[in-house]
């Protein structure tokens, strides 16, 4: 999880930009590091391994440690295109890349992914509501504690500060990689710019996101309900929208998470104990 210290982030980002400029002058696509220009020569010589930051300095949220050359390269390319608008990144070696941009740069990020990374194929666009559900998990398990209304909001990969976060996935069919782009949405009503001019396929996905989360897409030609009846009120996928079926009737599937008969009498401590135990089915 990247640190949430905003001032530190900004400082580092400034350094980053300087580093990027110097590196770009030196070699064009040099590997940048949090310390500045000290390692430019080494990077320019072809080393792609991330130089570890000094322990005193906070880790840079936009330069996750990774040994995945392909995805580090993609991240660098997006950094060049977006500059300070890129505020977070996460790499799962050999699998996936997440980046987070400011909501102002949402469309710019889509364009950069398309032109610079060759991600011509649009996969999906949606949103996440990071608010801890005030209904808990609708009492899925009797062993769960009652929902904690004061729970802190936690961000996922590549960080995030706001309750609503947009995310989209695009992929490059020629080279076979994909990238997930996220953006914090501070004000769902103000929304973000539509990306239909970049990816025509985003049209229905934006309608769905608008309907389910209430996030406006500025410039969308036909922002109307897609699944729900026109008179429907509310945004069903928001965490504070209750799932009424669960509220009025207990979920019969609770039986699935009860301890097995041979686990003992099945109080809470017992189930916690069996959970760590590795059993072969």
């Amino acid at each position: 999880m990247p640190p949430e210290d905003k001032t530190a982030d900004e400082e580092v980002t400034d350094q980053q930009v300087e580093a990027t400029d110097e590196a770009a002058e030196a070699e064009g696509h040099a590997e940048q590091t949090a310390e500045g220009s000290g390692d430019v020569d080494e990077a320019a010589a072809g080393t792609v391994a991330e130089t570890p930051a000094e322990p005193a300095e906070p880790a840079d949220p936009t330069s996750p440690a990774s040994e995945d050359e392909l995805r580090v390269g993609l991240l660098e390319s997006m950094k060049e295109a977006l500059g300070e608008s890129l505020v977070g990144a996460h790499i799962l070696d050999g699998k996936d890349l997440w980046i987070r941009v400011t909501s102002d740069a949402w469309r710019q990020a889509a364009e950069a992914a398309r032109t610079r990374l060759g991600c011509s194929s649009f996969t999906f666009l949606s949103a996440i509501d990071w608010l801890p559900s005030p209904y808990g998990r609708s009492e899925t398990s009797p062993f769960d504690p009652p929902p904690d209304k004061e729970q802190a909001q936690e961000a996922g990969f590549a960080g995030g500060e706001t309750r609503f976060q947009l995310f989209m996935r695009v992929q490059n069919p020629e080279r076979g990689f994909g990238i997930t782009i996220k953006a914090d949405v501070a004000d769902p009503d103000a929304g973000v710019e539509t990306i239909i001019p970049v990816y025509a396929g985003a049209n229905w996905h934006e309608r769905e996101t608008w309907e389910m989360y209430g996030i406006t897409f500025v410039g969308h030609p036909h922002l109307v309900h897609i699944y729900l009846p026109g008179a429907f009120e509310g945004n069903p996928l928001r965490k504070d929208f209750p799932l009424l079926a669960r509220e009025v009737k207990p979920w019969p599937g609770i039986v699935d998470v009860e301890p097995m008969p041979d686990d003992g009498d099945g109080d809470d401590a017992e189930s916690e104990a069996t959970e760590g135990e590795e059993v072969s089915a």
Partner: protein, 389 residues
């Protein structure tokens, strides 16, 4: 049964909403409502087409008649309970829906199914594909006025479903995939039966090729109809055979690294340069043959060993995010799971293939004739549950 006043009001409001949809689109010319109940829509997809004479000026699919809110439901269920839900997304190839979800959960838990489970998963996946596409191959004929192929399709699909049922106990909804492996092993004698069925599938493909591909009417009604260039297809997020029929050589079975057994055997990704309805039919026909070939080869050397990895009895998935997609019969299907370390996911984004594939309909039907709308819809091949989720 008495109708309450509230129900009456709701009915009138619904009628009024329908009328509004029509009014918005109807400025001149004629508005044609295809569906929600129409044989060509495989369910309850409604197409509101504005016509100028026989030509479509604009065409807007209206969805949601079957929206079941799976993304919301996944948030209040445990991981093992979710496979029951997602079985019902693409109901013709149910097992293929389970696989990417299970793979995504496994990726988060950092476990991998043992080789035997991977191979059986791949076999069942391909059987699901065959059962699904066989129906398309027959149904496309019906849409164009050829009634015979669909009878063969239903007959031969039954052989495949029997094989799926013999392993999983369910013809349509196997619910057989588990985090860490599979529910059960293959029954005795199943391999030989499956190989015999694969021969029948190949015969079916030959039969369909003779019945339809050489048919003059079929060709004239599909060639050059609904042409989608590769660039446009990618921009709209088309996947699967629809994309490959536009000349884009992209198949997740070959190109995406997931712990499945496709790369262990020899098969080919077929593409077609034309991008028209004929190409989409042709590519799917070849893919059925390839799938039969994959199943045959996989059946020959299934590795021995356990079918379940070691997993905790109560499955809690560690916090994190994962996206895994596979090449399903209808195209790319993937799940984006956000986990907070609970018994169930925090958020699941279900990316189904048909939703993207159908989103191109307004673009591709502009200017075509009414009967060609049916051809295009049939050739794009969608399952309503896969659109509405």
């Amino acid at each position: 049964m008495t109708v309450t006043e509230a129900q009456q009001r709701a009915y009138v409001a619904g009628q009024a909403a329908d009328a509004r949809v029509n009014l918005e689109i109807e400025s001149e010319g004629m508005t044609l409502n295809l569906g929600p109940q129409h044989p060509a829509t495989h369910g309850t997809l409604r197409i509101v087409a504005k016509l100028d004479g026989e030509q479509v000026v604009s065409c807007e699919p209206v969805m949601g008649y079957m929206h079941r809110g799976y993304e919301k439901l996944t948030e209040v269920r445990t991981y093992p309970q979710i496979t029951t839900l997602i079985n019902r997304i693409d109901w013709l190839g149910s097992f293929t829906n389970e696989v990417p979800f299970i793979l995504a959960a496994e990726q988060l838990m950092e476990i991998e199914a043992p080789p035997r489970a991977q191979w059986i998963r791949t076999i069942l996946f391909e059987l699901g594909r065959i059962a699904n596409i066989i129906l398309f191959l027959g149904d496309m004929g019906v849409q164009l006025g050829a009634l015979t192929p669909v009878f063969y399709a239903f007959r031969d699909r039954e052989y495949v479903l029997n094989q799926i049922e013999a392993v999983t106990g369910g013809r349509f909804h196997p619910n057989f995939d588990r985090i860490g492996g599979l529910k059960d092993d293959l029954p005795k004698g199943w391999i030989d039966d499956t190989k015999a069925v694969m021969n029948k599938v190949r015969d079916f493909c030959d039969l369909l090729e003779e019945l339809l591909l050489g048919n003059e009417i079929f060709e004239s009604r599909t060639r050059g109809i609904g042409v989608i260039p590769g660039e446009v297809a990618l921009g709209y997020g088309l996947t699967g055979a629809n994309l490959r029929a536009s000349g884009v050589d992209y198949d997740l079975r070959r190109d995406a690294p997931v712990p499945m057994a496709w790369n262990e055997v020899d098969w080919k990704v077929w593409t077609h340069p034309d991008g028209d309805s004929f190409a989409r039919y042709w590519v799917r026909l070849q893919e059925t043959r390839e799938a039969a070939k994959i199943v045959d080869q996989l059946c020959d050397d299934i590795p021995a060993g356990p079918i379940m990895a070691k997993v905790p009895r109560i499955i809690k998935v560690p916090a994190g995010e994962a996206w895994v997609a596979t090449e399903n019969p209808l195209g790319e299907m993937g799940y984006y799971i956000v986990s907070k370390g609970d018994l169930g996911p925090f958020r699941v984004k279900i990316k189904s293939a048909s939703f993207n594939n159908i989103s191109i309909v307004p673009w591709v039907t502009r200017g075509v004739y009414v009967p060609d709308v049916i051809t295009i819809l049939a050739s794009l091949y969608f399952i309503l549950g896969d659109i509405d989720r």
